[in-house]
Amino acid sequence: MTVPADTYFLFGKSMDKSKLKRALVVFVLIVLFSFRLWQTTGCQKFKSFYLNPQAVTIKVEEDVGTDRGVDRNISRFFHNKYQSRFVLTVQSMTSMLDARLLTDVLGPLGVLAFAVSVYTTIKTKKILGILHFFIVFLAVLFATFTPYAKQGFYLWAVALYSFSLRSSKTIVKLPTWLILLLVVATFWYFSFSWQLESFCHDIFFN
């Protein structure tokens, strides 16, 4: 049997050039994400995104206190536990979607992969993609409502990483030199942000 010129073999399985390239992209992404996860093992105290219920009460009291001379009902209309909980929840959740934090967790190539995954999920409206995105959202919710910062971080990071891998089909269409450049940039970025400042309060190897 003759094999087409652009067919390659990986672990005994035949695949065409584009499939091989895609497998390589997925492999490189997994290596990059694993490297980042390995770096996080140096973190002793993860930054918490937990919404402390006490913060809600404190916020309401502070805001009402500033409303000296304002009718109490009016003041309560603007400053109540529902409004404060909403604002503080949005604050916690948006903190986890911070561009700097996402870049620190995913690296430049990972951010691109994540953005492409979001875009293709919205564009194609595939149920699996939507469910996967929903898992990322659930991980954000988990980190917001649980006091366990470490578990919250890892669940969220793994959800982000797995969702980003969905973009491999699109990423392979990029020129090889650009992918290589992004891989190098990601390693470089992970190396110079070794202190994990945006999500780690205390790291023990400096």
Binding site: D63, T66, D67, R68, V70, I74, F78, Q83, V87, V90, Q91, T94, S95, L97, D98, A99, R100, L101, T103, Y119, I122, K123, Y189, F192, S193
Partner: protein, 502 residues
């Protein structure tokens, strides 16, 4: 057509109302830079010279920053009409802020001229900018950055309209040349946005061939005040810039990304009290889903200008990322009005989406309720909380202090004012409307003029006679002097103690 114009007039009325209402009273007092701009404009009006006696300067020395001149010259007509006061100093900013809303209408309309929703997008963009906390904050504050926003939006809008009209291209160049002379950050932002325009619209530009030299020359002429004062013009850039700090690349990347933080944009603003309202982001929370939807639908739209729209969005944080601290709402004001336009696209996309009417109506009703609550809360925070919580950020108390001191100054040989809060001389000059011609000869020594002396940690009496001494509330000399007045700010916090000393 008439109803569209009426709608636009209504939006502009809202924009003007929100910018001019209580303009002289909230923010609670003039910040030191506003006072400096105001007095320099007053000095130009009376003597054609700045506070140092320089004839019609191209950059204003102020406190050693050497600020671009246009924003000071634009205050002169307002001072002619309203006199030297808070309203006059903030009037040009509020006026240009209102006009930026109008320009945003034309800009959005042009960007989406190929779509059948261009009018809806244009109206909603203008409305969202009219009520934008970010734009309102800087339209009610005499800061050069707001002047830059106006001229950049004007220049860009004219550029997009110049496809078949060379004169409009020349006007666009004039506008960009003017922008260079508004704000320090414009020295970076104008080249960046011009480069984006040139690269994206090079086909449109190249058809003018040699005629392009004239607009290019106009922009170069606009840069002359910067080039001729290069050493002085870059003082601010060197002090705030990242290049003389450690790890500038890291600072740039993290600074750039921080401006896309949803937390910074929608919930927790930057730490500078003059830039935002405590408890609010720079944009409304209800705009978050709209902007996300807007980005998605803009990507999918067929407008030929979408490259430019995204170029603006991605390039806007560059001036802010080249300085510290980050994120910085003032330096990243370059984002305006892109977020309003994106949110407008998002809203129009939702309204026109092919989905069930019930679902759409429920979604829009929910959004309207959140938006209304968001806005009402913003106005409550702005008018009730802000003057109290951020009084110190606005040098609150200085006006009352100077007015009191000025009313009794004839009874004293010398008046000593602490410089703890920074540059007290300019407050004395401004609020006492001191004759600029008389001040020019005394302007080099910032520690005294006329009867006034300005001191640091402690004051030593050097001349005979009774002295009036103004100290910050915490400075308590031993033995205690005879206190005759205490000055409080809007939050009822003691700012100054005024004493009589023999």
């Amino acid at each position: 057509m008439i109803s569209r114009n009426i709608l636009l007039i209504l939006i502009l009325t809202i924009a003007a109302l929100l910018r001019f209402y209580q303009l002289g009273h909230n923010p609670p007092e003039l910040y030191v830079d506003e006072v400096s701009n105001g007095y320099n404009a007053y000095s130009i009006l009376k003597t054609a010279m700045d506070e140092y006696g320089n004839f019609l300067p191209l950059t204003f020395r102020a406190f050693g920053d050497y600020n671009p001149a246009l924003s000071v010259y634009l205050l002169v007509p307002a001072i002619v009409v309203f006199g030297l006061n808070e309203f006059a100093v903030r009037f040009p900013s509020a006026l240009l802020g209102t006009l930026t809303v109008l320009l945003t209408y034309f800009l959005a309309k042009k960007l989406f001229e190929e779509t059948k929703y261009k009018f809806s997008i244009a109206h909603i963009s203008a409305l969202l900018l009219a009520i934008s906390p970010w734009h309102l904050q800087f339209s009610r504050y005499d800061h050069e950055a707001n002047f830059m926003v106006f001229f950049v939006v004007l220049g860009t809008t004219l550029f997009l309209f110049s496809k078949n009209n060379y004169r409009v291209l020349v006007l666009s160049a004039i506008s960009f040349a003017a922008t260079l002379n508004t704000y320090q950050g414009a020295k970076i932002w104008v080249p960046v946005i011009l480069m984006a325009l040139v690269l994206i619209y090079k086909k449109q530009l190249l058809k003018w061939k040699l005629k392009l030299l004239i607009p290019a020359l106009i922009v170069i002429v606009g840069a002359i005040p910067i080039v001729t004062n290069l050493q002085q013009s870059t003082i601010r850039a060197r002090s705030a810039g990242i290049f003389e700090k450690e790890e500038p690349v890291k600072l740039f990347i993290s600074g750039y990304l921080s401006h896309f933080s949803p937390n910074f944009l929608f919930v927790t603003p930057d730490n500078i009290g003059r830039h935002s309202i405590p408890g609010m982001g720079h944009l409304y929370i209800f705009e978050l889903p709209l902007i996300l939807a807007g980005i998605i639908f803009a990507i999918r739209s067929k407008t030929p200008h979408k490259k430019f729209l995204f170029a603006w969005l991605l390039l806007a944080p560059i001036p802010a990322a080249l300085a510290t601290p980050t994120p910085h709402a003032l330096r990243s004001i370059t984002f305006l009005p892109i977020f309003s336009i994106l949110a407008a696209i998002g809203l129009v996309a939702i309204i026109t989406a092919r989905t069930s009417f019930k679902f759409k109506a429920t979604l829009l009703a929910g959004l309207a309720i959140v938006a209304a609550y968001n806005m009402v809360t913003y106005f409550h925070l702005y008018y009730k909380h802000y003057p109290k919580l951020k009084a110190a950020d606005w040098n609150d108390g200085h006006k009352e202090m100077v007015e009191y001191v000025d009313s009794i100054k004839d009874n004293y040989e010398v008046i000593a004012v602490s410089n703890y809060y920074g540059h007290p001389y300019i407050f004395v000059l401004f609020y006492s409307k001191y004759d600029p011609a008389a001040y020019h000869s005394q302007s080099q020594d910032k520690t005294k003029f006329d009867k006034f002396e300005f001191f640091g940690a402690s004051w030593d009496k050097k001349v005979a006679g009774t002295a009036l001494v103004v100290r910050p509330h915490w400075q308590k000399p031993d033995p205690p002097p005879k206190y005759i007045k205490e000055i409080y700010d809007t939050a009822d916090t003691l700012v100054f103690r005024i004493s009589e000393e023999e």
